[in-house]
């Protein structure tokens, strides 16, 4: 694993590049992992590192990044004033990953709000061959509402009265300060999986399965997990889902094999032809997914 800073010198991003190992390692297979934001970033760090290592052992290069103002990347969170900043960070990471691994395109893996970011980037980039969305946040309004509820509970239960900033400029939510403009943009940005041409593999909680409808572009795998994102007492608990990470690794391997079969990895992508190919197994498709009504995903 090679840790590094990359990107513009005045806006360094931290990345951890896991080099592919094994016989498939020469096959133009690269993943960029889009992590969650806020405290979920810290909770899931260990799990994403585990996923990256598993992918690397499957012959897939992996770049994990920290968005600006989060983790080890330069800046502070409150200076991020637009969700396009995060999109730009992912674009920068994609360019860096392609350069380091000699690939033309990458798969994006997005966890939680990283799934929303990955979806938005995929809709506008020709360098994304496929997507894996892991418990993605598809309704940022609901997501922020649940964070605010937990924040209020946390403050309310504390030993003394406390007021955290919540004004026209900034709002503090569960240990992070967010710019007001950023929050407004998050709430109004819709995630439309239909608008994404690339094949998608979605892992979400079993209770959310009905929020997705069938679409040939997507495959949905229900997770037997329980929602731990809205439980205040688990706020600082490490979120480790080794079994699901393993399943995602296997699916990523399969998707790359399909893309390679259809010669999509070394090429500039044609979104139309790359679509169903990466998911087609000849078997009946598992419930494939586009969110319909706004799911209570948080």
């Amino acid at each position: 694993m090679t840790p590094t800073f990359f990107g513009e010198p005045h806006q360094q991003l931290f990345g951890a590049l896991h080099q592919a190992r094994g016989c498939k390692s020469a096959a133009n297979r690269t993943v960029v992992i889009c992590p969650p934001i806020g405290q979920e970033y810290i909770r899931t760090h260990w799990c994403l590192r585990l996923l990256a290592r598993q992918l690397a052992r499957k012959g897939i290069n992996v770049l994990r990044l920290d968005y600006r103002g989060i983790g080890d990347s330069a800046g502070v969170n409150e200076e991020t004033t637009s969700i396009t900043h995060w999109y730009q960070d992912v674009h920068t990471a994609i360019d860096y990953a392609c350069e380091q691994t000699n690939c033309r395109n990458v798969m994006l893996v997005g966890l939680r709000y990283g799934g929303a970011i990955a979806s938005a980037v995929a809709a506008e980039s020709s360098k994304i061959n496929s997507l894996i969305l892991w418990e993605p946040v598809l309704d940022a309004g609901q997501y922020l509402k649940s964070l605010r509820t937990m924040h209020k509970q946390m403050i309310d239960l504390w030993v003394s009265n406390f007021k955290t900033p919540n004004n026209s400029d900034q709002e503090e939510i569960l240990g992070s300060t967010f710019d007001r403009n950023l929050l407004v943009e998050m709430e109004s940005a819709a995630v439309d999986l239909d608008a994404i041409d690339q094949p998608q593999f979605i892992v979400d909680l079993f209770e959310h399965r009905n929020a997705y409808t069938v679409n040939e572009m997507q495959r949905f795998m229900p997770s037997e997990d329980e929602d731990s994102w809205t439980n205040l007492q688990l706020l600082e608990t490490s979120w480790l889902r080794a079994s699901t990470a393993r399943q995602i690794t296997l699916m990523a391997d399969e998707m790359f094999s399909r893309l390679q079969e259809f010669e999509q990895l070394g090429a500039h992508l044609n979104p139309v032809t790359s679509s169903a190919s990466a998911l087609s197994t000849g078997d009946a498709p598992i419930a494939t997914a586009t969110p319909t009504a706004s799911p209570a995903v948080s």
Binding site: P3, D72, L157, V159, S160, G175, Q233
Partner: protein, 294 residues
């Protein structure tokens, strides 16, 4: 300010981020701060505490290394037999060796929160290169004074009952939470070895005092085994002074979840560092050298 990735230790398997001040800001001869993981959180620290602290120290002219102990964050586990040695002591020794070899210094300050404070204590006791230490919610022992201030004292605070009721109401809606409704408060017994003896720690602290190690002890109300600044003297029989400073944050939670509290803690550490090792000391050293010339 610059941040650099460094890798060191066995097979370069240990990782840290070194934050260094701009050249014109740098305090000459200041020891490098080394921040140790809190619990299993990686080098950024709980809610980004370590990042905030390192960057604030850099603004004060101090370099800081935030490292991942072996097996945590992005550092690989150690594979050699430890032979009873504390893993953190070995990891930090590797870090100090690297810094000493590459950054021309043999003086360091260790900083840690919770289990990080425990490890910082072990490192300070075992390595003469440590000239300063910041222990945040570290090793504590309950005292009679604690009993009166905390256990009895909170019976007279209405908020105690209010919060207990509210937590139980919250418990009903969240089925898999801990049985103890006060589980939000960190308890030291979960983070440190069972066999720590107060007498041993007292002796070790006195040894550090003899070695002229400057120390800052920070405690928070969120740390359930300490209540009030006076407990420090009750525990160790040591009165705080300039060399051994003690601070109690009565409104702060254990991991500084609230930004205002986190900022206050980082500022306190930075202020302490500057007073102990900062430009004041640097100026005095320069004055002394000048006097010798004259």
């Amino acid at each position: 300010m610059q941040e650099t990735v460094i890798q060191f230790g066995p097979n370069d398997g240990l990782l840290g981020i070194l934050t260094t001040p701009a050249e014109f800001e740098r305090v000459a001869n200041a020891p490098i701060a080394v921040v140790i993981n809190a619990g299993i959180v990686h080098r950024v620290g709980p809610f980004g505490l370590h990042v905030k602290m390192a960057r604030q120290l850099a603004e004060a002219g101090i370099s800081t290394l935030r490292l991942d102990l072996s097996g945590l964050g992005d550092s690989l586990p150690r594979t050699e037999k430890l032979g009873g040695q504390n893993r953190a002591v070995l990891d930090v020794a590797d870090a100090l060796n690297f810094l000493q070899a590459n950054y021309d210094t043999d003086r360091f300050v260790v900083i840690g929160l919770c289990s990080g404070a425990y490890n910082a204590h072990q490192v300070a006791v075992n390595d003469d290169r440590i000239v300063g230490a910041v222990f945040m919610d570290g090793i504590v022992f309950r005292t009679m004074g604690y009993f009166w201030r905390h256990t009895v004292g909170r019976l007279f605070k209405p908020r105690t009952y209010r919060n207990a009721i509210k937590r139980r109401m919250l418990d009903r809606n969240q089925p898999w939470i801990a049985e103890d409704a006060g589980a939000e408060l960190a308890e030291s017994e979960f983070f440190f070895a069972d066999d720590i003896q107060r007498s041993e720690i007292t002796n070790q602290l006195n040894d550090l005092i003899q070695r002229d190690v400057s120390m800052l002890f920070l405690y928070t109300a969120g740390y359930d085994d300490i209540c009030g600044r006076s407990q420090f003297r009750e525990m160790y029989g040591i009165s705080p002074d300039d060399q051994v400073q003690v601070e109690y944050f009565p409104k702060s939670e254990h991991t500084f979840r609230i930004v205002e509290n986190r900022n206050a803690a980082c500022s306190r550490v930075a202020t302490w560092y500057q007073a102990q090792f900062g430009r004041l000391e640097s100026n005095q050293a320069s004055q002394h050298e000048l006097e010798e010339l004259v």
